[in-house]
Symmetry: C2
Subunit: 236 residues, 2 copies
């Protein structure tokens, strides 16, 4: 079990690629008796059509099928992950309204599984799924493995999102100046430029100047988008 105690350092301090890191996660999953393992990352932005990336050791044919049929939009575990960070067990009830999806998954050997998600300071959501073909998953087993699941979800997300985020969401690397942050904070709280000018004892012109600079840096079309992006990415 040494690996469990070392992965955190490894995951965060080494220069391992996403692929290498994911292999480490796969082997930790195997130690928990799960052959299959999947990590999904969903960014928040843009709010219409947010980006999702997936990595798994599922059968290639199933990965292709999932992608082709856009099962992301249907998958009840993803729905759950987006509104709760509690672990969710694959049960017939959960998949009741998505029978086709559930049967196809079965046909690829994905039968018993569970998933847990977390959200980070950039509002990105990471979901880790552990699954297998043969052995049913009892409540007892879940309870016994819940600690490691919580930990693995966290660390998998931290390690993988660190590597994926800069590529997928360049705005996350933006540096805002102190003034830009202050002005955007008040903006996000619903103040007009004029009100912010009074509060900060500067000209309205200057307020708009800072907002505009921030919006440019954040690749935002206007101040509403700039405020939302800055808030969601944790800059405020």
């Amino acid at each position: 079990m040494k690996a469990w105690q070392e992965i955190q350092l490894q995951a965060l301090q080494t220069n391992d690629s996403e692929h290498q890191l994911f292999q480490t996660i796969v082997s930790l999953a195997a130690e928990l008796d799960f052959d299959y393992c999947a990590y999904g990352l969903r960014l928040v932005l843009p709010l219409n059509n947010p980006k999702i990336v997936k990595t798994s050791n599922y059968p290639t044919a199933w990965q292709a099928q999932y992608q082709a049929k856009n099962y992301c939009a249907v998958d009840p575990t993803i729905k759950h992950a987006l509104c709760s960070t509690l672990p969710i067990l694959w049960t017939d009830g959960l998949f009741a309204s998505t029978a086709e999806f559930w049967e196809e998954a079965h046909s690829f050997g994905l039968r018993y599984g569970w998933a847990q998600s977390m959200r980070d300071v950039h509002s990105a959501t990471g979901m880790l799924t552990l699954a297998r073909s043969d052995e049913p998953l009892s409540e007892t087993e879940l309870a016994a493995k819940a600690f490691k699941m919580a930990w693995l979800t966290q660390n998998a997300h931290i390690a993988l999102s660190r590597r994926l985020l800069p590529k997928l969401l360049p705005e996350a690397d933006t540096k805002l100046s102190n003034r830009e942050i202050a002005v955007l904070r008040w903006t996000a709280d619903g103040k007009t430029s004029g009100e912010i000018a009074s509060i900060m004892k500067i000209t309205e012109r200057t307020v708009n100047f800072h907002i505009n600079n921030a919006a440019t840096k954040l690749n935002a079309a206007n101040k509403t988008s700039a405020a939302v992006k800055a808030a969601m990415l944790g800059f405020l």
Copy 2:
């Protein structure tokens, strides 16, 4: 160790008060050999001056001191919690620039400790701190207890924030209509009312109508604030 496997059900399904729940957490902390235990919840809104509530079994005098001197604004563990969900260990280095704070904590018996935070779908941040007076905290001990810490942080936050959030942030209970959500999403992505009208094939007047209704529900002064609130609270 039965308690560990049962707290999740208990925390989520019972009608226990915050106080009772916190006592459960205290006893789980004790099983991990920590006498002291603190849970802090920080809401995001308003972005200027966000609300923070704390619960702990720290000496009453220290709690009062912490509050009186507004140590929230200084505490390096809070700073860390707001930008990372990794556990953080109380070290002299961490408190190097806040010597007075650190020494006072010592004088109340708070010497060895660590903390971990998480963020939920409402963008609220929860931080759990475990501490004690006597026994130093080795890296080995941390590594061995990291799983339970991750789990406890999650469950403490889920259970306590469920009870605290409605009181502290009434907007979190708002129900937005489908149209309001759609319009706010496009707004948050930086579209003007006119553009949204084209996209959704409705009048600009109707777009503004929906935005205005959503802003009223969300207690927002204007559409920027409405978009930020809705996005941060996970409605979009």
